[in-house]
Structures are given as structure tokens and as C-alpha cells.
């Protein structure tokens, strides 16, 4: 199906299975524990500094909500503003169209290489692979993307795609691979992050200085002025946005904001939520083309690729408010333990679990909405207040519906749920079950504990004892002591 190009990775097993592999990876677990722990504390410290943080979140959520309700108008205005400022706007319904547009634009320059700013949209459409097929080499310049690219790896985090790698692994990748792509890693490279960053600086410098074409994503675009915004830290973004002659920006249609003034809210929320900084080192804002300063040829590619399908779902559309800060990943107890690869999608973590199934269709990512305990930490961290648990349970219902539709026979789970539903909606049947369970428990329990349970419950009982059902349910106790034999009431009845 269109749109599934790189949003989900073919061949990745369902989440529970992929998670099992990830959980057994000691190094991955250590890397994730350290990284998410660090960023959580930093985020809490800088969000606590703003006494109107909650109001900011409210405002951002409201802005995104109402922008999405008139998305077509805002995009048309954006197109007009960008065009008036000397840029060219392209529209792409899916990944294939977007890749074709970018490939055509690069070819028109006569160049065979491009430098890239980290961008989720181009990850999503598999642009690098598409360019490679057309004989165009794309160099990732964000440090984490560089680590992923050199390692022949996949991103596992929205903000820090190489979060699954520790410093010593990064050193190995640099030593082994840098020479194949350009300037080799310095002799005797250590695993000190400072030295690793320096190695990346030297490796990429040459590419920046000779680059004629850059490809970027966008964090925001203001419809009224045509201003596009890229938020970054390292300066690789500035390099790509100012040195080349041609700049091609691929942006999801949901990134548009009505006005330049709306940026004030998001430029406060994004850095504090993503890297836990008051402000990220570099934020670049540009409007079309400026004579004598930066690229003289600017193209903005507006990408749908499943977003309008998401927009059509009145509950699910809130996922389009996402500003890709990844705060939800960093606070998620599931993500913290499995990392991003287990999600099998370019969008991992809680936001991935609600976004991916909507972008590619629930049947192509059916296990993701279940990859959550619904603990709600993501909702509390989200700077635009996406109610991720709400969307998760909404998508679970859709996943169950899809299975009901597609199968001739109900799943075993559906049969169990149906039976449980019948029992749980009748007090008479429930009381009967309780009596039966109490009886059964006396046969299998030892000291009031059950060690091994049958069937799917074995996964539970493998690591946990289960208390035996009580000999007398509360309902039975109440009837016996309060409604029939009030005189025999005991003070306590454990």
C-alpha cells in the first residue's frame, strides 16, 4: 500500500516478539536506561521554570486543533506566501510522489550528491534509498543520523535516532565506516563524546563546503508569511540551510501554523520538551529566497502520505498535532525498556503507537496500539497535550473491529472476551463463576497461592504467584452476614 514505504519496516515481527529480543540486549538496555534517565530529569527542570507551562500546553493544543480543522486553507495560504517570497511549492500525495519530486529537483541541478538535515519526513518516505536508486548520494549530517547511516542501521528514536548506541559502539562505527564515506576518523579516536563530535565535525566539513544541494525537513511553517523553521543543535542544519545553492524542504502538511506569531508558543515548548534545554543552540527561520544570502533556489514539498487518512478520524486526528519532540518516548516505561526498533516503524514510542497505525492502516501495525500499559505518562509529558492513551484505546477498538471484519471465525481472544462479557454483565452468572473459582482454587492452590496457570495465563504465572480466589466473595459474604444472618456478623473476617 502507498505510504507504508518506510513508515513501517517490512519483516519486523509484531511488537511483543520484537520486544522480547530487545529486552535481552544488555547493552541496549543500559544505553536506553542512561539516556532516558538523563533527559527526563533535564526536561522536568526546565519545564518547571515556566510558571505558565500548563497554559502554554493548552494554547498549543488549541492552536493545533483549530489549525487542523481548516488545514486546506492554511496550506493554500502557505503556498501563496512561499511563492510570493520566491520559493516553489510542490504537493505530494504519497512517498513515491514526494521522492519523485525531490529526485527530479536534484537532477535538474546536475548534482549527484546532497547534504541532509535530520528530518522525520524524509525518513518516513525513504528518500535516501530513492535517491540512491537514481544515482544520488545523500549524506546525513546530524550526528545521530550520521551514526545510523554509517552503521547501516535504523533510527530508534525521533530526536536521537542513535539512542540505542553507546559511546564505545559509536567509536567503532566511526573507525570502521567513516573512511568509506569520506574523511576517515582521526587516528586513536577515543570514545569521549567530545572527541566523537570532533570526528563528525571533521568528516562532514568537506561535504558542507562543497555541497550544492541540501534537503531538509521543517519543524514549522507560518502560513501568513511563508516562513519555514528548522530547530537544531549542532549547526549542521545551518550549514545545509545556508551554504548550498538549492534547498529542498520536505514537510508534512500538518506542520503548518496559521501565523508567524504562533511560533512564540512552539519555540518555547519544543526545546524544553525535546532536549530539555531552555532553547536549542540554533533555530533558523527563512522566508522564500533572500538575495545574496543563502540558497537562491528554494522548494517546499508538502507531504500527505497517510496524514489525510489520520485527519479523517475525529479521535485519532489529534496525533497530527505532534511536534516530534519525543518527550513521550523518553518518559515511556515501555520504550525505555525496548527501545525504538521493536516498534518496527520510523515513528516509535507512544506517539508512534498512535501515529504509525493511522498512517499505514491499522491492519499493517495492529500490535502497536497494544504496546502500552496506558500508564498516561506520555499524555502528561506531551507539550501539545495529545491524549495518547485515548487514541491508543480508540485504535485498539479499531484493531479488534478490523479482525472481526477480516476473519471468518472469531479469534480465541474474541471468544474469551465474549464469554467474559456474558458473565460480567450478569450478577447471577458472575456469582456462579465466583463459586466455581473458589472451589477450583482449593484444588490447585497451596497456602492460598497458585503457582502455575494454564493457557495464555502461563505467561503471567511464569514470574508471579497468583492468590487463590477467596472462598467467599464479597457478594456472598454480604448476603450471608448483612442480608440473611445479621446476628452472626463478625467483627472481622479475613
Amino acid at each position: 500500500m502507498s505510504g507504508a514505504d518506510n513508515v513501517v519496516w517490512l519483516g519486523t515481527p509484531p511488537f511483543p516478539e520484537a520486544a522480547r529480543t530487545a529486552l535481552a540486549d544488555t547493552r541496549l538496555r543500559a544505553n536506553l536506561r542512561r539516556a532516558t534517565g538523563t533527559i527526563r530529569d533535564r526536561r522536568l527542570a526546565v519545564t518547571a521554570e515556566l510558571d505558565d507551562w500548563e497554559e502554554l500546553r493548552e494554547k498549543a493544543a488549541a492552536l493545533k486543533r483549530r489549525t487542523l480543522r481548516h488545514l486546506d486553507q492554511h496550506l493554500l495560504q502557505l503556498e501563496e506566501s512561499v511563492t510570493a517570497a520566491g520559493g516553489t511549492v510542490h504537493w505530494a500525495a504519497d512517498a513515491a510522489e514526494a521522492n519523485a519530486v525531490v529526485t527530479r529537483l536534484v537532477r535538474a541541478t546536475g548534482e549527484s550528491e546532497v547534504v541532509k538535515v535530520k528530518s522525520m519526513a524524509t525518513q518516513e518516505i525513504g528518500l535516501n534509498e530513492a535517491l540512491a536508486e537514481a544515482g544520488i548520494r545523500a549524506y546525513e549530517t546530524d550526528l545521530a543520523e550520521l551514526i545510523v547511516q554509517l552503521g547501516g542501521d535504523r533510527p530508534s528514536h525521533i530526536l536521537v535516532p542513535a539512542i540505542h548506541r553507546g559511546r564505545s559502539e559509536i567509536r567503532e562505527i566511526f573507525r570502521r565506516e567513516m573512511g568509506k564515506w569520506g574523511r576517515p576518523a582521526p587516528e586513536g579516536l577515543s570514545d569521549d563524546p567530545r572527541d566523537l563530535a570532533e570526528a563528525a565535525r571533521l568528516h562532514l566539513r568537506e561535504k558542507f563546503l562543497r555541497a550544492k544541494v541540501a534537503v531538509s525537513g521543517a519543524n514549522f511553517a507560518a502560513a501568513d508569511t511563508g516562513t519555514v523553521v528548522v530547530v537544531e543543535s549542532e549547526g549542521n542544519g545551518r550549514m545545509c540551510l545556508t551554504l548550498p545553492q538549492t534547498l529542498i524542504t520536505v514537510m508534512g502538511i500538518e506542520k503548518v501554523l496559521p501565523s508567524f506569531a504562533d511560533l512564540d508558543v512552539f519555540l518555547q515548548l519544543l526545546p524544553r520538551s525535546s532536549t530539555g534545554e531552555r532553547m536549542n543552540p540554533y533555530t533558523s527561520l527563512w522566508t522564500g529566497v533572500t538575495e545574496g544570502d543563502g540558497p537562491q533556489d528554494f522548494h517546499l514539498v508538502l507531504l500527505d502520505n497517510g496524514r489525510t487518512a489520520t485527519l479523517a478520524d475525529e479521535v485519532g486526528r489529534q496525533a497530527l498535532a505532534c511536534i516530534r519532540c519525543s518527550a513521550c518516548l523518553n518518559v515511556c516505561p515501555v520504550y525505555e525498556r525496548t527501545g525504538g526498533h521493536a516498534y518496527g516503524s520510523v515513528y516509535p514510542g507512544p506517539i508512534g503507537a498512535v501515529l504509525t497505525p493511522q498512517l499505514v492502516g491499522i491492519e499493517n501495525a495492529a500490535s502497536l496500539p497494544f504496546a502500552s500499559t496506558l500508564c498516561g505518562a506520555c499524555y502528561d509529558a506531551c507539550p501539545v497535550k495529545i491524549d495518547i492513551p485515548e487514541v491508543l484505546v480508540h485504535l485498539r477498538a479499531k484493531a479488534v473491529e478490523a479482525k472481526r471484519r477480516d476473519r471468518l471465525l472469531p479469534t480465541p481472544e474474541a471468544l474469551v472476551m465474549k464469554a467474559a462479557g456474558a458473565v460480567l454483565s450478569s450478577p447471577r452468572r458472575l456469582a456462579a463463576l465466583q463459586r466455581l473459582a473458589a472451589l477450583g482454587a482449593r484444588l490447585v492452590a497451596r497456602d492460598g497461592r497458585i503457582g502455575v496457570l494454564p493457557g495464555p495465563f502461563a505467561r503471567w504465572s511464569g514470574t508471579r504467584d497468583t492468590p487463590a480466589p477467596a472462598r467467599e466473595s464479597l457478594r456472598a459474604w454480604w448476603r450471608r452476614t448483612r442480608e440473611e444472618g445479621r446476628t452472626t456478623r463478625k467483627g472481622k473476617g479475613r
Partner: protein, 246 residues
């Protein structure tokens, strides 16, 4: 005050002692507790697993059975959250106008135990006595769905004889998550391991929470490993008195 006890299906069968504790506690405070025999389940398991149509009869039954009380109390943050946040969703999506109305009427009367005690009955010192070292795990739905805040801790701090110790990383999920513990058993276990480690670090004799479901999960792990740490629902600690330590 005429208070109805919604015990929840899980507690009814597995932990009737929690229901008896709630009853004793509220009666000790001078209130009348009733147990509507028509009650069953809030429907959370079905709703959260994606079986919405199956949830509808339970939502309907809840609204009927619990109509007309001054307050409905439940010793489960999770089930209280289901009723408060999700019954309207089910009624609006699958029910009729009459059901929506019935749900809207009953929902504001439903309280989790610590909410009822602190907000409605206005007590934090319930006259309890529990001479043990205890640590408290704020379950996710109490914390982030109901926003009970520090109400349970205020109640526990007022218990005589208690040695209440802080649980490290208390606000992290224990990994239960209902059917999550079966569907994603491995991740659930990984989360459980960390929660148990934090509990053991406190040196507590008892782990306390406002939800027996999470306690079954954590307690099941603590029991399997023979840690000797017990679990106890908030209601049972609050029901304990000098002459009747549970």
C-alpha cells in the same frame, strides 16, 4: 451519608477483604454502606482491550444499579477512572440518549476511596493504627487519570504507628496494564523487576496501593521470589485499629 460500595469484579472474587475493610472503615466513620447485589464490572478490561460493544451492557448496568446514591465508592483507582472517563465515551458512541443521561447523572457521584474520604467526608485521620514499615505505590490510573495526588499519602501519614517510607521512582508504571501483562508479558516482566527492586530498596514490610490489580502483579512477583514483602490495599491499612490490626 448513604454510600454504595462498588467492589469491582476483581476484588469481589479475589479480595473480598478489601471490600470488608472499606465497609468497616466507613461505618466506623458513621456512614451507611450498601452493597447493590446487581453490580458486576466496570467494563475496563473489554474497553481497554478494544471490545467496545461488549462493554455496553456493563456500562448500562452500572448506571442503573448505582443510580440514586449520595456517593458511590470503589477501592480501585483504575475502575473509578474507567467509570468517570470512559463510560461517557461508550454511552455516546454505542448507547442511546437515555443511557448518556443516566451515565452523566451517576458519574459525578463516583469516588475512589481516598477521594471520598478526603474530599467528600473531609477526613485524613481515620483513626487507624498500623505498626509496620510501609511504602506506597501510586498506581498510574489513580495518579494520572483520577489525579488523586497526595490524598492516599495524607491518609497514610495520619495512621498511628506506621513507618511510611518513600518508594523510589514511585510514579513509574509497575507494568501490569491489564491485558498488557499477557499480550506483552516480557515487557511487563521487565517493568515488574524494576518496581520490585525499588520496593525491596525501601526495606518495607508492606507495599500499599489503591488498586489490588497492580498489587496482584507486584505482589505476585514479590511472592514468587520469596521476598517476604507483603501487599496491602490502602483500605485495609486504614481499617486497621489498635485492637484489630489486619
Amino acid at each position: 451519608m448513604r454510600i454504595a460500595l462498588f467492589i469491582t469484579c476483581f476484588n469481589d472474587m479475589m479480595f473480598p477483604s478489601t471490600g470488608r475493610a472499606v465497609t468497616e472503615l466507613l461505618e466506623r466513620l458513621g456512614h451507611t454502606v450498601e452493597f447493590p447485589q446487581g453490580q458486576t464490572c466496570c467494563g475496563q478490561m473489554h474497553f481497554n482491550t478494544g471490545y467496545r460493544p461488549e462493554t455496553l451492557p456493563m456500562v448500562r448496568r452500572f448506571a442503573e444499579v448505582f443510580a440514586g446514591y449520595d456517593a458511590v465508592v470503589t477501592p480501585s483507582g483504575s475502575c473509578a477512572g474507567m467509570v468517570r472517563d470512559q463510560h461517557r465515551v461508550v454511552a455516546a458512541q454505542l448507547g442511546d440518549a437515555a443511557l448518556v443521561e443516566a451515565v452523566e447523572r451517576v458519574v459525578p457521584t463516583v469516588y475512589e476511596l481516598s477521594e471520598l474520604l478526603v474530599d467528600v467526608l473531609g477526613v485524613t485521620d481515620v483513626g487507624a493504627h498500623f505498626p509496620h514499615r510501609v511504602t506506597y505505590h501510586p498506581t498510574c490510573h489513580s495518579l494520572r487519570m483520577l489525579r488523586v495526588g497526595d490524598r492516599p499519602l495524607r491518609l497514610l501519614r495520619a495512621v498511628k504507628g506506621i513507618d511510611l517510607v518513600e518508594l523510589p521512582a514511585a510514579e513509574s508504571c509497575c507494568g501490569f496494564g491489564g491485558t498488557f501483562a499477557l499480550k506483552n508479558a516480557d515487557v511487563s516482566n521487565a517493568m515488574l523487576a524494576d518496581k520490585m527492586r525499588h520496593v525491596l530498596d525501601t526495606g518495607a514490610e508492606f507495599l500499599c496501593a489503591g488498586d489490588n490489580s497492580c498489587l496482584t502483579h507486584i505482589g505476585g512477583g514479590l511472592s514468587r521470589l520469596r521476598t517476604g514483602v507483603g501487599t496491602m490495599h490502602l483500605a485495609e491499612i486504614l481499617a486497621s485499629t489498635e485492637g484489630n490490626v489486619r
